[in-house]
């Protein structure tokens, strides 16, 4: 087995392949389009969870405001789609045709200037990443340069999430308020609500997630990843070794934000709307929990954790609509108390040894009896 500079070890390659098989083969083959779309929605949260593994698991930065980035990415995409849906013909009954319906309800008579660039698809694609990353950069710069960390950082990001939610809800003429931006129909003339579009979007989403995972894996394996771990465990020693700790933190925080933003944009495309309920505190904490359930040190675990928690949420709430919160609460407490390393920890301590033995046994067997 190669070590050091290698990007993916053989075992890791197998794990990646298994996840790819689950996403691209098992789910589409075993589910109807309704469930598949639902799992597509869950997978958009996995982007955030993977980003959190890097920020929190490796960098030790716990952000309770990832929903902000998820939401910003989603809103950028939603603005583009809304403008496309608000053609003068489609909105002919409004007093000002051609602007989004919620603006008309709020007596706006012209499109606000900052909405104008979102007529352009390339601009939107850039904005989906750039706006949240810029935001993360500003927050990160302000906080990490001043050595705010740990619990303080968590609570400040939480407050930022609260501020943005109130702001979006309050400025409803520009943002759609608490309803969010709804009734999105087409992307560049392509109807995103049909079943075939849902299939395509699901696979695009899966592909992007795999890319994100590879990027995360790259960071983990790189020198940067090792510095992050060193920073998390002994920040001062890293600082004394001559590294600018803040810059690394800002970078990984921005990376996490970018991943969350991609998830948000894919969410908007697959679900067909974006609302401030994703920007707030509750979803932000839930996303941290997805990551914790999966195992905060495992990028693949984060994906499985997200899927597990969301699947459990949907199933519990369908089976016991009156009692499902008990089950969710118990799940979170159970994971934190009994399995602090989440699913990945469980796998590593209980399953992996058997697998390893199995592989090595077979390998040994092959060597013993090559003729077979």
């Amino acid at each position: 087995m190669r070590t050091g500079s290698s990007f993916l070890t053989r075992t890791e390659l197998v794990y990646f392949a298994i996840l790819a098989a689950v996403i691209f083969v098992v789910f589409p083959a075993s589910m109807d389009i309704f469930r598949l779309n639902l799992f597509g929605k869950y997978l958009t949260y996995a982007f955030v969870a993977v980003g959190l593994v890097l920020c929190w698991g490796y960098g030790g930065i716990l952000s309770l405001g990832q929903g902000v980035f998820f939401g910003l990415g989603g809103y950028c995409m939603a603005m583009f789609l809304k403008l496309e849906a608000s053609t003068p013909e489609a909105t002919a009954i409004q007093s000002t045709p051609g602007i989004p319906d919620f603006m008309d309800w709020n007596q706006l008579t012209a499109l606000p200037t900052w909405w104008e660039p979102f007529h352009s698809f390339p601009f939107t694609l850039i904005a989906v990443i750039a706006v949240p990353v810029f935001f993360a950069f500003v927050i990160g710069l302000a906080m990490f340069k001043r050595r705010v960390g740990g619990v303080y950082f968590a609570i400040i990001t939480q407050a930022i999430a609260a501020i943005l939610t109130i702001l979006i809800i309050g400025q409803q003429g520009y943002t759609g308020g608490v309803n969010g931006i709804t009734d999105l129909r087409t992307l560049l003339g392509w109807d995103i609500r049909t079943d075939s579009a849902k299939y395509i979007l699901y696979f695009v989403n899966g592909g992007l997630l795999m890319l994100c995972l590879l990027a995360a894996q790259f960071v983990r394996r790189s020198k940067l990843g090792r510095i992050l771990v060193a920073m998390r465990d002994q920040e001062d020693r890293v600082r004394f070794s001559g590294y600018d700790v803040a810059n690394f933190k800002i970078f990984v925080f921005c990376l996490g934000a970018a991943m969350a933003a991609v998830g948000g944009a894919m969410f908007t495309l697959q679900v067909g709307f974006m609302s401030p309920s994703f920007v707030g505190i509750v979803p932000s904490i839930e996303m941290v929990i997805f990551c914790a359930v999966g195992g905060r040190l495992s990028i693949l675990g984060a994906v499985y954790g997200t899927l597990l928690v969301n699947w459990a949420k949907t199933t519990f709430s369908e089976m016991f609509p009156e009692l499902w919160l008990f089950a969710m609460g118990a799940l979170f407490i159970g994971v934190v108390l009994a399995f602090p390393n989440g699913l990945a920890g469980l796998y590593n301590s209980y399953v992996a040894p058997y697998v390893k033995r199995l592989i090595s046994a077979r390998g040994a067997g092959r060597r013993m009896a090559p003729a077979e």
């Binding site: 308020g177 309920s277 609509p321």
Partner: protein, 417 residues
């Protein structure tokens, strides 16, 4: 490519359906007593058998909105029970699948889709906030479902897939303001609301109407949902001395607002200023406490205290089913109308097919409604009376005025957009 792969489940269910129709054809004679066969009254594959029809109930039973939506769920279940006791719809018992929207708009959309696509329900009774309705609306339009929406709301909407059983804003607002101006000689108004679309739009309609009457709005203010500190706005009200406080505060904020108003020495029974609300039903008063809101006026279409035979029967049945100390508000009553309006439309159409039910809906009237009489307008809203009630210390409204005629629903009022 895999997205073009044949939809196995669809083939499966189609197969099952042919098998079923075959079986029912054999048993046709014995089934004839039931009336029409499933295939006749249901050509679009809804969840209708020879004995049952499945509908969906989609409200929040967890999260912050559960406080308000519980009453609607109870009313819908009561109506379904009563309809079943009378023999059901087209000879079929109504069965329901209940889903939890969890006070979260995307969850509403997800569950609506599940009800329509997976469960193939014939109708959905549900949603409460405008945000949840806006979230499910594209789903209902895409998969052609039928939603019966119970809440009074801001209007500016008219979907072929929704029947709005509550009042839209103009019905509630215009009559209420006209009344305070005529009866109480009000000249100045202070508009106040929670910060989201319904209070904002409603206050806009109210402001236009007030200004059209040549009167004055002296203040307009919004607080975030869930806000609990209203002392500052109460001070502003004291300073501006309006004749009327027009309050559209919702949810938990209500309790804080009215308690603090009373504690600040504004005695609503003196009507100086007078308080007129369109957001506080008997349900909310339970949380606020009757003694804290005594003397306030509310403009809506239904109060539990309405004195007519329909209502007496409804209140009794509701209490028998859900407990004697329960209260019934405007939205609860509107939710109760949903299943009955749907039943009437299905029977008029002679079919469960969504398109036929939609076509049959305008003109459907209900003489058994607890609020008296309602009729579905071409625009899918209800013709209904608007009533003014005065809150008493016992938590009930006492009727002080009702419009002589039914108010015409006008979801897109001229010049208010």
């Amino acid at each position: 490519m895999s997205f073009e792969r044949p939809n196995l489940t669809r083939i499966g269910s189609a197969l099952r359906r042919t098998v079923l129709t075959g079986a029912t054809a054999l048993a046709a004679l014995s089934v004839a007593a039931h009336g029409s066969m499933a295939a006749d009254v249901n050509t679009t594959g809804l969840a209708v058998t020879d004995d049952t029809v499945t509908v969906g109930i989609l409200h929040s039973i967890t999260g912050t909105m559960a406080i308000s939506e519980t009453g609607s769920v109870q009313a819908e279940k009561l109506a379904i029970d009563q309809i079943n006791a009378m023999g059901g719809v087209l000879g079929r018992k109504i069965e329901f699948i209940q889903e939890d929207g969890a006070s979260d708009w995307p969850t509403f959309a997800e569950k609506a889709k599940k009800l329509l696509v997976n469960d193939k329900v014939a109708a959905v009774f549900g949603c409460w906030t405008s945000a949840s309705r806006k979230a499910v609306l594209p789903v209902f339009e895409q998969y052609n479902g039928m939603l019966y929406y119970p809440t009074f709301y801001e209007g500016l909407e008219e979907s072929p897939n929704v029947i709005y059983t509550g009042q839209e804003a103009t019905q509630q607002i215009i009559a209420g303001i006209d009344w305070v101006v005529r009866e109480k000689g009000a000249k100045t108004f202070y508009l106040l609301g929670s910060d989201y679309i319904w209070p904002r739009t409603s206050n806009k309609i109210a402001r236009k109407h007030i200004e059209k009457l040549g009167l004055k709005v002296v203040g307009e203010e919004y607080y975030p949902l869930g806000h609990t500190q209203f002392n500052s706005v109460i001070n502003k009200i004291k300073l501006k001395k309006p004749d009327v406080i027009y309050a559209i505060v919702v949810g938990g904020s209500n309790v804080a607002f009215y308690k603090q108003l009373k504690a600040a020495g504004i005695d609503m029974t003196k009507e100086k200023p007078l308080l007129l609300t369109i957001s506080v039903t008997e349900d909310e008063i339970r949380g606020i406490g009757g003694e804290n809101i005594e003397g306030a006026y509310a403009a809506m279409k239904y109060f539990q205290s309405l004195d007519n035979d329909n209502n007496a029967g409804f209140v009794k049945a509701f209490k028998d089913m859900w407990g004697q100390d329960i209260v019934i508000g405007d939205v609860t009553q509107a939710a109760y109308l949903g299943p009955w309006l749907w039943k009437a439309a299905v029977e008029k159409a002679g079919s469960f097919d969504i398109d036929k039910v939609r076509e049959a809906s305008p003109g459907i009237e209900l003489t058994t409604a607890p609020e008296g009489y309602v009729r579905i307008h071409e625009n899918h809203h209800l013709w209904s009376k608007t009533r003014i009630g005065r809150a008493g210390a016992d938590g009930q409204y006492e009727l002080v005025y009702e419009t002589k005629d039914l108010m015409e629903p006008d979801p897109f009022p001229e010049g208010y957009q």
